[in-house]
């Protein structure tokens, strides 16, 4: 990512312009050509710097009221294999290995689930528990009770 990519990121991370030719609009803001903007966005997407250009919904507004961060304590030596399996479950939106903070926080595997009802979320959690089997040494589910902020990633000093 060079300085021009970074300028493009700053100009577009809050959102793509809602104009008929959004890449032309970005190009004008940055004094670049439209072709260069399109080429750079394509390249960043190919390199994984941009996961994708897409809409991000508010889970609650789509009816997903039970958004659970499920956290599991599994053996470190098995976590990669188990994490990949959990991540493949169709209802898991994110799955990560994160550090424990012993003794208070023993959990090292995180998987986000989303249900429209509590029963739906609980059924998803049971499926993860079944998949982990005896490797599950303990787990907890933290439901979000309120979105306090969701602005996406902003960088640069003018961000806010």
């Amino acid at each position: 990512m060079d300085d021009t990519d970074r300028r493009l990121m700053r100009a577009s991370q809050a959102g793509l312009p809602l104009t008929p030719e959004p890449y032309q609009t970005l190009a004008e803001q940055l004094c670049l050509s439209k072709d260069e903007v399109m080429q750079r966005l394509t390249a960043m997407q190919e390199q994984g710097l941009i996961r994708r250009i897409a809409a991000v919904p508010n889970h609650y507004r789509l009816g997903y009221r039970f958004n659970g961060m499920t956290v599991w304590e599994v053996p470190d030596e098995r976590i990669d294999e188990l994490g990949l399996k959990v991540g493949q479950l169709p209802f898991v939106s994110h799955c990560y290995h994160r550090p424990r903070h012993l003794p208070e926080w023993p959990y090292n595997l995180f998987a986000m689930v989303h249900g429209k009802t509590q029963a739906e979320a609980e059924a998803q959690i049971r499926q993860i528990a079944d998949l982990l089997g005896a490797h599950n040494r303990g787990h907890d589910v933290l439901y979000s009770t309120k979105i306090l902020k969701k602005t996406g990633f902003r960088s640069g000093q003018s961000a806010g």
């Binding site: 577009s12 394509t42 809409a55 898991v92 009770t145 996406g152 990633f153």
Partner: protein, 147 residues
């Protein structure tokens, strides 16, 4: 939100083309005009159904840093602590959760140094221990939720 809004949300969650007139192309696939799609999209953003629309940057791959952190905010200080945390522009997401660790937030910065500085500043301003839980490995990320 009606069926057309749902179709728009489901389509735009999957991706968006890079071409001269991308809204026109997506609108055509939904049997809409470009103007109708832009108006619907603006409404979905304005009313909070969509929190964002555009390129989703992977902060770490651009040399930036990202972490998940949590604090135990005492019930009587919950609103005050939430406000202190939200005031940091580096805080991208912030959720209240039903656990002793009750405030969970994602920090994104351009450098790892800024991340450490922000975590220290949050600890200092709130007077709370900040649990830092950066991802050690990512197994799966897919933000698509059927509308």
């Amino acid at each position: 939100m009606d069926d057309l809004d749902r179709r728009i949300i489901n389509t735009l969650q999957k991706g968006f083309p890079i071409c001269d007139a991308p809204y026109r192309r997506v609108a055509a696939s939904l049997n809409l005009t470009e103007t109708e799609l832009l108006a619907r999209l603006q409404n979905l953003l304005d009313d909070g159904t969509l929190t964002r629309f555009g390129p989703l940057y992977n902060a770490e791959q651009g040399g930036g840093a990202l972490t998940l952190a949590a604090v135990k905010a005492p019930a009587e200080r919950l609103d005050e602590i939430a406000e202190i945390i939200n005031a940091f522009p580096e805080v991208a997401h912030h959720y209240a959760r039903n656990h002793a660790l009750n405030l969970w937030f994602v920090l994104a910065t351009e450098t790892p140094e800024q991340l450490a500085k922000t975590l220290a500043a949050i600890a200092q301003q709130t007077g709370l221990t900040v649990y830092n839980l950066p991802k050690l490995k990512e197994y799966f990320v897919n933000l698509h939720l059927e509308a």
